[in-house]
């Protein structure tokens, strides 16, 4: 498991967007789990790809990094690898702290 920085500093004017952003990440975890259970690697690849693009844009580098691993894992049909990523992702989301400046 990667040691992700759990305190993330975000520009103050993005503050209004962050609650919705996290709401959507929770939904994303649910979608990832459903896709993994169904063995839908195409869906997993798309979701990983999306995480990769959006995470870093908001300032959450860890989300992009996990997303890239999910995308790569989906291409390789690596269930176990993706499962580990999902655990890591859920853990990260439960512990991350946002600081606005």
């Amino acid at each position: 498991m990667t040691d992700h920085q759990l305190t993330v500093t975000i520009a103050k004017d993005l503050a209004d967007l962050i609650p919705m952003f996290f709401e959507n990440r929770k939904k994303e975890i649910a979608s990832l789990r459903t896709a993994l259970a169904a063995g839908d690697f195409e869906q997993l690849r798309q979701l990983g790809h999306r995480m990769k693009g959006v995470g870093n844009s908001y300032g959450f580098a860890a989300i992009s990094e996990i997303g890239k691993r999910v995308e790569d894992g989906a291409r390789a049909a690596d269930r176990a690898g993706i499962n580990a990523c999902l655990g890591e992702y859920a853990d990260y989301l439960s512990r991350v702290q946002v600081v606005y400046e």
């Binding site: 959507n24 798309q46 693009g53 844009s57």
Partner: protein, 362 residues
């Protein structure tokens, strides 16, 4: 809305991405810069939005379910109405292949995810400047074209009907030279008209009064010529030369010339009657019509000779013109003059006289 936002609110950006968080993020950054933002969550609704309300710029995600960003870009760039809208492809893909596909699809620029604020704003502003410069150049070009057409219309409007002047101006806009490719040796129908009794008129009237009468006379004849899209070649003394089948082909040129002659005579009749009442002068229009090849030369000379021979209210026609319009003329009004050798011509030509007016020849 703050001051900066108000100043740039007119600049509209359409953000297209299937990830709602990405859409909100990009919209937020652009709105912060004072731009007006619309959004679409897939390629199909993006195309619909562009068609109904074209934006000034598009930020377009590449990987979307259904219609991809490449497809949207290709479709918009292949349509003349939307081809000029700048498109920035936004993608997490940073590989060369995607960029090449984007260029092939017609994208104007690229932006990689994660999106960095400074890069996004710099690219949008650059494209905005380019787009506005392009629009400015286009509006200047259109203004210059309108000016040029107006100049052409003015230059020609003294000689041809407003309809033909518009046609020439439009052709000039499309091809540069409105007469390009026209056959120099055109079959022309020439109509010569002059005022019978003009000499007596000049003897009995002051120059000022005469000028007013001539203006009235030419106004009536010119109106008749324009009515049938004739081209005024010459206006001298009391005679008027009108050409048909020039500068644009008129398959019914002889009929047009004939109708113009009738109209000239008819329109001038009340004027002549008024002059007669006022000055006791019997005047009328005499007309000669002939057809042939070339603009300057035979047909014009023959029409001039025929006109000289024509009495007031009479139209003299050369044989070929009469053959073309004979179905339009009541036979009792036609008088065949046989083959006539005109002054200055060696070969005799068939001549027909038609009484066009309702009054007796003066």
């Amino acid at each position: 809305m703050n001051e900066r936002a108000a100043a740039t609110a007119a600049y509209r950006v359409l953000v297209v991405d299937d990830d709602p968080d990405m859409v909100r993020f990009l919209a937020h950054l652009l709105q912060r810069e004072g731009m007006s933002v619309e959004t679409a969550g897939d390629g199909k609704s993006a195309l619909l939005k562009v068609m109904t309300s074209p934006p000034d710029l598009m930020l377009l995600d590449v990987v979307m379910p259904g219609v991809s960003g490449f497809d949207v870009c290709r479709e918009l760039k292949s349509d003349e109405a939307t081809a000029l809208i700048p498109i920035v492809l936004v993608t997490a893909l940073e590989d060369t292949e995607s960029r090449v596909r984007g260029i092939e699809a017609g994208a104007d620029d690229f932006l990689s995810k994660p999106v960095k604020l400074e890069e996004l704003i710099a690219r949008v502003k650059t494209l905005r400047r380019l787009h506005e410069t392009r629009k400015e150049l286009e509006s200047r070009r259109l203004a210059a074209e309108v000016q040029r057409k107006e100049a052409i219309r003015k230059a020609f409007s003294r000689y041809i009907s407003p309809r033909l002047a518009d046609r020439i101006a439009d052709a000039a806009g499309e091809h540069g030279d409105p007469f390009q490719g026209r056959n120099q040796r055109t079959s022309l129908v020439a109509l010569f008209a002059d005022l019978r009794g003009f000499t007596r008129l000049t003897e009995q009237n002051e120059a000022g009064a005469l000028l007013g009468m001539l203006n009235e006379y030419f106004a009536v004849l010119t109106e008749a010529a324009y009515q049938h899209d004739g081209t005024i070649f010459n206006m001298a003394g009391d005679s008027l030369l009108v050409g048909f089948n020039v500068p644009f082909p008129q398959p019914d040129a002889a009929e047009r010339a004939w109708r113009t002659a009738l109209e000239m005579v008819a329109r001038f009749e009340p004027v002549a009657a008024a002059w007669q009442a006022r000055h006791g002068l019997a005047v009328g229009v005499g007309i000669g019509i002939c057809t042939g090849e070339a603009i300057i030369g035979n047909p014009v000379n023959i029409a001039a000779r025929l006109m000289q021979m024509a009495a007031a209210g009479e139209v003299l026609l050369c044989g070929p013109v009469y053959e073309r319009i004979r179905h339009l003329v009541p036979v009792q009004r036609v008088e065949g003059r046989g083959d006539v050798t005109l002054r200055g011509k060696s070969e005799p030509i068939p001549v027909y006289a038609v009484r066009a007016g309702t009054r007796e020849p003066a």
